[in-house]
């Protein structure tokens, strides 16, 4: 094999300019592949992180995915002779029944934390201004377990809800709209007609203005009192240790608790599909770069094979079998692939580092952000493997052709 490697190297070095041009194809292909892949993966990871961090991984709501079996159906089962008509579904009381039992079950699960929520529409009144909001009643001590709202506090804190049961957390946009500031007292009216007074104990800013304008947080007890739904909740928020298991775990939980249990993947299915399509496009485009580079290699090795017909005949006459001839030219492809990777990987890393230095301010953002990039090892493996695969594939056809050269045809021709 050392001899074949020696001959292959000599062939490549004899055509330095051609070899360098085809090598540059692979080098740039690998480098661009890494740079583009890194930025796409980075932005995707950043997007998913925000999506996963800012929303519960699983939400149990007071709905049923399938309608409940009605008593008449339950009683008669599948009996063919019974005609049940004008069956009206039993009126369900809104809210999750027996939620303490569900919470107790969830507490036994080692891979998740959960917290109950009672949400409902309410109207905030302040200085003659009214604004409709979604009021979320939560257990203050548990908010940090299932929500990242604490990370976005601009003024006050979530812990103040613990010491002040009549406290309320509101968004910056809402505070601005109603000219509210910390420690102001506001009136909140529910659809039931009951009105309660809350004190602003915290102002948060997530950067999503619709969220900041609509969502307010109070203690669960006060929300239950305001909505006149004592001991009721209408959703349970769950955070998983591993967010990726949310899809399967939500199904298991739903099978147990019977209430609709939705994972973040289900809730963001359209977004995840978009990301998958985006990835497909990205890998197709970047792979095309490497394929073009592979054509360069094919071109060089094909030319070498054509020019080397006489040498192939001589090697065969010396006693080199066809397999050795094939290996010589395949080795050239492998060498170009290895050299392309060796130069392309550092260049790709340099591109990624360069991208990492770019800071920009997206529309609507108050602070400049850096380009999210990924240093995931998998993309390096894909780039290296694809470059090697393309190089070997590109050299395979010329190598095969070379191995089929009949020495006598060349010698007879006196080339």
């Amino acid at each position: 094999m050392r001899l074949l490697f020696f001959i292959a190297t000599k062939h490549l070095l004899a055509r330095k300019r051609q070899s360098i041009v085809s090598l540059m194809g692979i080098v740039l292909g690998v480098a661009f592949f890494l740079a583009i892949s890194s930025i796409m993966q980075g932005s995707e990871a950043d997007f998913i992180k925000r999506l996963v961090d800012n929303s519960p991984h699983i939400t149990i709501s007071d709905e049923f995915r399938n309608p409940r079996v009605q008593p008449a159906e339950k009683f008669y089962g599948d009996a063919d002779v019974v005609d049940i008509s004008s069956v009206k579904p039993l009126t369900e009381t809104r809210g999750i029944r027996g939620y303490q039992k569900i919470l107790a079950y969830l507490d036994q699960q080692p891979d998740l934390v959960s917290s109950p929520v009672l949400s409902g529409s309410a109207i905030i009144t302040f200085a003659g201004e009214e604004n409709g909001v979604t009021l979320n009643g939560m257990i203050p001590e548990e908010i940090h377990k299932v929500s990242t709202i604490e990370d976005y506090m601009k003024e006050g804190s979530v812990t103040r809800l613990v010491s002040n049961p009549d406290g309320m957390l509101i968004g910056q946009s809402l505070a601005k709209q109603l000219s509210l500031s910390l420690n102001d007292t506001i009136s909140v009216a529910a659809q039931t007609g009951s009105v309660r007074t809350f004190k602003i104990v915290g102002i948060y800013q997530t950067g999503r203005s619709s969220y900041d304008r609509r969502q307010v947080f109070v203690t669960l007890k006060r929300a239950q009192a305001l909505f006149n739904r004592t001991n009721r909740i209408n959703s349970i928020l769950i955070k998983m240790d591993d967010p990726n298991t949310a899809l399967t775990r939500s199904k298991e939980i739903e099978n147990t608790v019977r209430y609709k249990s939705e994972s973040w993947q289900e809730q963001s299915e359209d977004l995840m599909n978009t990301l998958a399509i985006r990835n497909m496009i990205m890998y197709s485009v970047v792979s095309a770069v490497l394929l073009v580079a592979a054509f360069g290699i094919y071109n060089v090795i094909s030319t070498v094979v054509m020019e080397k017909h006489r040498d192939i005949a001589i090697l065969k006459s010396m006693g080199f079998p066809s397999g050795d001839i094939r290996k010589i030219f395949l080795t050239q492809g492998v060498l170009l692939g290895i050299a392309g990777n060796m130069a392309g990987i550092p260049m790709g890393c340099a591109f990624i580092l360069g991208l990492q230095q770019i800071k920009f301010r997206p529309p609507g953002s108050s602070e400049p952000i850096t380009m999210p990039v990924s240093w995931d090892w998998e993309q390096f493996v894909i780039a290296i493997s694809f470059a090697m695969f393309a190089s070997i594939l590109a050299s395979f056809l010329p190598a095969r052709k070379a191995s089929h050269v009949q020495p006598v045809d060349i010698l007879r021709g006196g080339l």
């Binding site: 001899l3 062939h11 065969k316 006693g319 066809s322 050795d324 007879r412």
Partner: protein, 233 residues
């Protein structure tokens, strides 16, 4: 008997009509024998040599090497036999242009892989020195004269101490002086290395140096077998 053929036929399939290059050729090459194959251009001399050198397969007939029928050997087995037992010299030196004289000679030795790198290097150097190429060991073929290239080609053919050297008009492309030199070298090979040499030539003077001359006309051996009977008989 080193090499023996029985009724070798080589027909080339062309688009128009099949062309028979070699007809019923029965040849015997003994160990240490120096044989010339002579004939007019296009008579099938080289085709016969390629068959004897296992570079081409006969359409019909049999080839025996050391009394073993090798007609049905696989390509790989034939390649191994060429590597171990044969050496080739062609009209056009056919040296590998990217490799120096020394590397050209070392390649078949390294392929055979019987010696260490050091032994291969010294063996190849010795071959080149024997042929008066001590000053051209590290030169590329493009830096050598025609005669020097042909001597490097002979050194390469001798690299693995072959039992049979097959030369296809080795002086056909050389000036008179170089031609004389190559003829002498080939003649000496038989004496010094004890190998058999088969030379294709249409130079009568060259043929006269050989122990025996096989004449071929239109693919058919017309003389040379009676000379062979001296050895067989």
């Amino acid at each position: 008997m080193l090499l023996r053929t029985e009724n070798l036929v080589r027909t080339l399939e062309t688009e128009a009509i099949p062309v028979t290059l070699v007809k019923n050729a029965s040849v015997e090459i003994r160990e240490g024998e120096y044989v010339a194959i002579k004939g007019p251009s296009g008579s099938g001399k080289s085709s016969l040599l390629y068959l004897l050198g296992l570079l081409d397969r006969p359409t019909s007939g049999k080839i025996f090497y050391r009394d073993q029928d090798i007609s049905n050997f696989s390509n790989n087995k034939l390649a191994k036999l060429r590597l171990e037992e044969m050496g080739f010299v062609f009209q056009f030196h056919f040296l590998l242009p990217e490799f120096t004289s020394l590397e050209n000679v070392m390649i078949p030795m390294r392929k055979l892989g019987r010696l260490s790198d050091k032994e291969i290097r010294s063996g190849a150097t010795q071959r080149l020195v024997e042929l008066g190429l001590e000053d051209h060991i590290n030169k590329l073929p493009s830096q050598l004269s025609g005669g020097q290239r042909q001597r490097v080609a002979i050194a390469r053919a001798l690299a693995n101490n072959p039992k049979l050297i097959l030369a296809d008009e080795p002086t056909g492309n050389l000036d008179t002086h170089s031609s004389e030199n190559v003829q002498e070298i080939l003649q000496n090979l038989v004496k010094t290395h004890g190998c058999s040499v088969v030379v294709v030539t249409h130079d009568p003077e060259f043929a006269k140096r050989c122990d025996r001359t096989i004449t071929i006309v239109d693919g058919e051996i017309v003389s040379g077998n009676e000379h062979a009977s001296k050895y067989t008989g």
